[in-house]
């Protein structure tokens, strides 16, 4: 059943998917396709978790794939695109310090750096085995994804793009965790809950910052996010 060659092939294809979506998130100006790219990236993570399950057979991987599918592929992208539609921001063309091309080049350099650093750490301690195994590559891509997401968070101006950068960072952590070790399920689950609350809050606040304040409260009323209560102080 578990043919290592086949497993390696599939994992490599999925890694390429993750990297392409990450590169797309870094360079695109269109906010709608940004959210779609994120959903796609999460889907690739789900598939990676599934193929790991198929290879290793640990039940926890199935659970992780499940909650990732529900929250990161469906709920969060749906919520964000919903909000985007309502506040009518379609494009984020303001790049802070980096142009798309230079950020791509920097992320390439980052990947290389992560590869060298990790192989040194792993080389000293020999934890994950040989440097050629998909597990090592998974760790490298995880950390690179984290750094690329961080770049998005700090180089874009619109808060909603920053949120997507943060989400992409979180995907990187998940990928790293998947390949390096197995955390207890309750911890993974709590992290997802934490993420959902964080995204809810930042998106609501983003509505305020990415639009003018006068319209902000009206919008919150329209979303039914804010209740009006008449109270006698």
């Amino acid at each position: 059943m578990t043919d290592p060659e086949f497993f390696n092939g599939i994992i490599k294809v999925l890694f390429v998917c993750v990297i392409i979506t990450a590169a797309y998130i870094i360079t695109t100006k269109n906010l709608i396709s940004l959210v779609r790219a994120y959903a796609l990236q999460s889907l690739a993570l789900v598939l990676i978790a599934l193929s790991l399950y198929w290879y290793e057979g640990a039940g926890i991987l199935l659970a992780i794939a499940g909650i990732t599918l529900i929250f990161k592929v469906i709920v969060i992208p749906y919520f964000i695109s919903n909000v985007q539609e309502k506040i009518r921001i379609k494009r984020d063309i303001e790049f802070h310090f980096l142009s798309p091309t230079s950020s791509l080049l920097i992320s390439l350099a980052l990947m290389l750096l992560v590869y060298i650093t990790l192989s040194r750490i792993v080389g000293i301690n020999a934890v994950t085995g040989s440097a050629e195994s998909p597990f090592f590559f998974g760790a490298v891509i995880g950390i690179s994804l984290l750094l690329m997401g961080m770049m998005v968070t700090f180089s874009r101006k619109k808060a909603i793009t920053k949120v997507l950068g943060y989400l992409s960072m979180e995907n990187g952590v998940l990928l790293f965790g998947l390949f390096v070790t197995e955390l207890p399920f309750i911890i993974e689950f709590l992290i997802i809950i934490d993420l959902v609350i964080l995204i809810l809050l930042t998106t609501i606040l983003t509505v305020g910052i990415d639009s003018t304040l006068e319209e902000y409260h009206n919008r919150l009323h329209r979303f039914y996010l804010w209740e009006e209560q008449e109270e006698s102080p």
Binding site: V180, E182, I191, L198, P233
Partner: protein, 494 residues
């Protein structure tokens, strides 16, 4: 099971908040919850032998040890006093339309939840659980910052969330490293702090350095250490003053607490000698950046916020020395700084109400005739300011003195450097207070200020806090110092 009691109280408070109607009721609930937390913590302190491992789920997610109890004690005291203060303060926010009536319930519900989450964070044995709860505190406190209906507040809150959460994600990678280290040495992976402490000496130093550095980045951002301090002055200055007191007095401790816990693990391995220069460097940089930012600062609350960064730096310096004496005074300084800084923010809140600029939150406060309008707040700031710069006989004097004393025995040169920087920070604070408080309107000229009638509920917490730092400075009970000795032993520094 005692932790369930905390949770039950908080849930009860939330239910009451949902059904209550007026601001007074809401505020009384927040005060009541604080008092309950004080009572439970006092009960544990007096009658239950710590450390206890209660409410075990699986491999022990929660426990109560001396350090956790100590931090929770600070949390409970500051939350009660800040809630009392909020009664008058929030009333005024409502009157000046800075806070919408509709957001009142959200404000108090978040307040109570934040209190619960912080307490649980300090009692968590599992480092990953602590990480999650620390993230929760970021979310809750950012909400309290953003609650005022001003664009600057949302801006500050978002900056806070992004800087802190991004760094915390890096810390989580560090935790995964730590988990893997435990798995490769112990057989089963764990992030349980007590277990990690027992087996720490067997961990490979190289991996441990990597893990610690990553975790340090995250928790350093949480406690406003350079270079992740950028969110701190914004968030602390823009938040309502009752919230600022909590942010500075309690939330910064969460980050330092995490660093202390992980450092205690590293301290038992040879890796510790290559970690300490890192901590020392970040500590000194934090003090320096705070001191030089304080010099030109014209906004009182921002000035106090920068002073928090300075004190976090001092804590790191103390931690880097890592002798039992230094650790003892680091723990003491955590408490001293929390109480002093809370009192400063509460006093600054009164002045902010009186002199705040109606045009922009970033404008410098135009403080005039301070002794005529707000004598108590002025004296609160002067005494609190003297206390925070380390004047005897206040609490901070002792901790600063002994931390610097220990630093001197490590390296006199570094001591001289740190002393100079601390002197700059002190001078900045003194300069601000002297120029602001001596500014008076010449007699005969009309004064266009309406005096702000400070309610008694805003004065009492300041007086209590100042009395506390004075009394605890003059006669710190013997039980207290043996309690801190227990902490140092449990962290295995002695």
């Amino acid at each position: 099971m005692i932790l369930l009691l905390y949770a039950l109280c908080a849930v009860l408070a939330l239910v009451l908040i949902a059904v209550s109607r007026t601001h007074r009721q809401l505020n009384s609930i927040a005060v009541g919850l604080g008092l309950f937390f004080c009572a439970i913590t006092g009960y544990i302190l007096l009658y239950i032998p710590v450390p206890v491992e209660t409410f075990t789920v699986g491999s022990g997610y929660f426990f109560i040890d001396h350090l956790g109890l100590f931090e929770v004690l600070i949390v409970a005291v500051i939350f009660v006093l800040a809630a009392i203060y909020a009664r008058g303060y929030v009333e005024n926010l409502l009157a000046s339309r800075e806070l919408e009536t509709g957001s009142l319930k959200i404000f108090y519900a978040t307040w109570c939840l934040l209190e619960l989450v912080i307490v649980l964070a300090f009692y968590s044995d599992n480092l990953a659980l602590f990480w999650i709860l620390a993230e929760m505190t970021t979310i809750m406190s950012a909400m309290l910052v953003a609650i005022l209906s001003a664009k600057e507040n949302i801006d500050a809150a978002l900056k806070y969330i992004f800087v802190a959460s991004v760094a915390m994600l890096i810390a989580f990678v560090g935790l995964i490293f730590l988990f893997e280290i435990a798995r490769s040495t112990l057989g089963t992976g764990t992030l349980n702090w007590t277990i990690l402490m027992q087996h720490a000496s067997a961990f490979p130093p190289g991996m441990l350095i990597a893990a610690f550095t990553l975790i340090f980045i995250g928790f350093a951002a949480k406690s406003g250490i350079f270079p992740f301090h950028t969110w701190l002055p914004e968030a602390h200055a823009k938040a309502p003053s009752a919230v600022s007191a909590v942010l500075s007095g309690v939330l910064l401790n969460v980050g330092i607490y995490g660093i202390i816990r992980v450092f205690a693990i590293v301290h038992q391995t040879p890796a510790f000698t290559s970690i300490t220069p890192l901590i020392l460097l970040f500590g000194i940089f934090s003090i320096a950046i705070a001191a030089f930012s304080m010099l030109p600062e014209k906004n009182l609350k921002k000035l106090i916020a920068f002073s928090s960064i300075e004190n976090m730096g001092i804590l790191l310096v103390g931690l880097a020395i890592a002798t039992p004496l230094a650790i003892f005074w680091v723990i003491f300084h955590v408490m001293a700084h929390s109480f002093t800084k809370a009192s400063l923010f509460l006093s600054a809140g009164i002045l902010h109400r009186q002199y705040r600029s109606h045009l922009s939150a970033d404008a410098p406060d135009d403080i005039r005739d301070v002794f005529r309008f707000q004598p108590l707040a002025a004296w609160g700031l002067i005494i609190g300011g003297l206390a925070i710069i380390g004047m005897p006989p206040f609490m901070v004097f002792f901790s600063k003195f002994f931390i610097l004393f220990s630093l001197g025995s490590v390296s006199p040169l570094v001591l001289a450097l740190v002393l100079v920087i601390i002197f700059i920070a002190t001078a900045a604070l003194g300069y601000f207070v002297i120029t602001a408080f001596t500014r008076t309107t010449p007699p005969g000229e009309p004064v266009d200020l309406v005096p702000y009638q400070t309610p008694i509920s805003m004065k009492v917490p300041i007086v209590i806090l100042l009395a506390l730092i004075l009394v605890l400075g003059i006669l710190f009970p013997a039980a207290g110092s043996s309690f801190i000795d227990h902490i140092v032993t449990e962290l295995m520094f002695s």
